[in-house]
Amino acid sequence: MTRKLKLNGLKVFFLLFIIIFPFSFGNNSKNIESKYLEFSTLSYYQTQTCDISFFDFWRENIGNKDVIIRADFFSSIDCFGKVNGVDYLGESYNVYIGTNLNINLLLQSLFWILIISFIKLPRKEFSKILSLKKTPMINLIFISSLFTSQIFSESKFYTLYNKNVDTSITVNNYFVLSIFLALLIVLKISDDVITPRIKTIPNFVPYIFLFIGTYSSANINFYILYFCLLGSRNISFKTLKHRFTIFYIGLSILWILNQESINNYFDVDKIRGFVNSENNRLSLLFWIIVFYLLINGLVYIFDMSYSFIDFQNLRTNFLISGSLTVIFGFIGAFSSYFNFLNFYLFGLNKNGMTSLQSVTGNTWRGFSASAEAIGEFYGIAILISLYFIFKLQKVSLFQSVLIGINFFGLIKTNDAAVLISLILISVIFLISELSSSKKGAIKFLILFMVIFFFVLSLAYSILNPGISRDYDFLTENLLTESLKNSSYFESENLFMENLLSNSNYRDITYLEDYEEKLSGTTRFLLQNYISDNNISYIPSFSSILSLTSSLINRTDKWGMFVARYDPNLLEFMFGSGPLQYNNFYNSHSVKYIDGLILPHSSVLNTLLFFGVTGVLFCLFGALKIFLKTDSDVKYLLIFYILNLLKSDSVLYVSTFILLSFTVSICMKSIRENSA
């Protein structure tokens, strides 16, 4: 016990060391002192860059509400953790703290690995069944080389985010050599610390929403790195001749052959760490391999650890993790210094919010990069808790407080879809549990669904007076939105506006530049809407889609998607490859839209990456799971899928891993039942 306490004490010491030490060293040789930042000292800070440490600055500026701390990705190694620049923004000052990729890789990883090391090692008598052997060095070298190659394949991203990037292939290229070595060290330590605990790790999956794991200045995520290492262990003759692998290799060949290397850059923004930032064959190949290894690693580990999942423990971890994201989100909103530390230490994709004020759509994402993704996570934490309250008929005070915090987080995200699906799934579950017969349950379910959708429609009519009763508006809305986002509207176009306001869609098809200006998808919806083959009183496909998008408030986002999506036949059938946005964003010219606007539906993301084939594969896979699994986890999966239909959450590593985890539990239960 004493030894264990000492060891934990040592770990805490190391954690504090990692947090404090790198950000405490100023330039001692110049003997420069930190000052309170105000207009009179602005020039002092602008000339004394790379001299004052972050903590020195903090000490002098406690309570300075005008300071906003930001990470300076483009810092040299010697300026790491120091004030690297100050911008005056009229009312506030942006203070940039230096971070550098060569250091980030090791420092951030050590922080996360130390946190994971607090998970108990299996006792010696269980270690044989609970532990895995260490990974061979050849795998470590392969994965390090693979991720180092990203510096070359996505050189535009790395040049933009890092100073002194050198993409020459020479023995003196210390930038690349140190990246390779840093990755090798990280993988070796991860293998020594995480691999012995790996079968109990799935019980701690919820914490990936707290420790996001994206490296500052990099397009890599810690979990992807480690799961790829596990995936490389799982490669054998058996996995290589598996039908999915053969199919994936076939698809990869198609994606590579169909790829047009126009080498443009895609601004990864909040999905950094899990998306291709460049359009070239090497980067496509990189993400094809990474995606395969990631899936292979996830399947390997979740399959192996199924029997060791403790669902009550998992529930508690969901609640604690959810509560901590709310608490750290608040701390980051109150203090800009903690906001920076949150960003760096938790590996956030994007800075957390700096105030408690809600933004667009009245949402508050707090700590997370996406309000929708974190809202879904709170929803899952609450759903699992309700399940256990129902099953065990008890709940502790501690759990009640945690549920309350998660619920508060959910309300702040303003994610109505989560709330509605939470009610829907809870009722479906209760009906199936409380009904004595299957027939009775189905009757109750139908009755509930009718009432549920009636109430929803009523609520929509009350909240959207006027438009909700205008059938023509609702059925044309998506088409109109996509036309408004087309290149016809690059500048003011009164003629086109007139056509749209009169719903004169047929005339648009007579325009000379119709095929050039509109994407294939917009043209398809347009033709479908005005087709003479449409049957009276039965809405066309285009109308149904538009009506659906209006009801779930997705018209503007889907409209932008429709305006842009212009695939060739191969792309439409098989997509552009995993995590490839470049083709979609750059192949068809549309009206200028500022910032990254994602499709806002995981179905549309799947369509982009894997085409119709991928969408059908997921659809039939989900159906198979619902029909065959007996596990109650299927309710969780239904909840997730309902929400993913209208959100991009699957593009975040945390959501992707949690979704894979949920699917793998269901699949495993099917296999166990059939065995």
Binding site: I77, N164, Y174, A182, L184, I185, K188
Partner: protein
């Protein structure tokens, strides 16, 4: 001149097609116009003076005049960090043998 252009392009980026490289020299009346979509670059002279340039032409002229994007007389930090990592990795790999050695003693 070609050799100069190579060095300039290495530091300032590829010469834009619509820009003619002319040597401005020390003309005090010439004002460099900032170039849209050009990322501001920091250049250093041999005395450690710093200048931020906001167009390819401005950058090219400074580089032609002997300025560079490398801070003069500074340490090669990438090389140092590489050596540090070699040391850390070696130490980590032999740590067990090292600890065992002292245990036995």
């Amino acid at each position: 001149m070609d050799e100069n252009l190579n060095t300039i392009e290495k530091i300032c980026g590829t010469k834009p097609l619509d820009v003619e490289f002319t040597i401005i020299g020390n003309n005090p009346n010439f004002i460099f116009t900032p170039q849209n979509n050009y990322n501001i670059k920091t250049l250093y002279d041999i005395d450690g003076n710093i200048i931020n340039v906001s167009s390819w032409l401005e950058c090219a002229n400074y580089v032609y005049g002997g300025w560079s994007d490398v801070v003069p007389g500074t340490i090669n930090w990438e090389k140092n960090i590489f050596i540090a990592y070699v040391f850390i990795f070696s130490a980590y790999l032999v740590k067990k043998s090292f600890l065992n050695f002292f245990k036995i003693r």
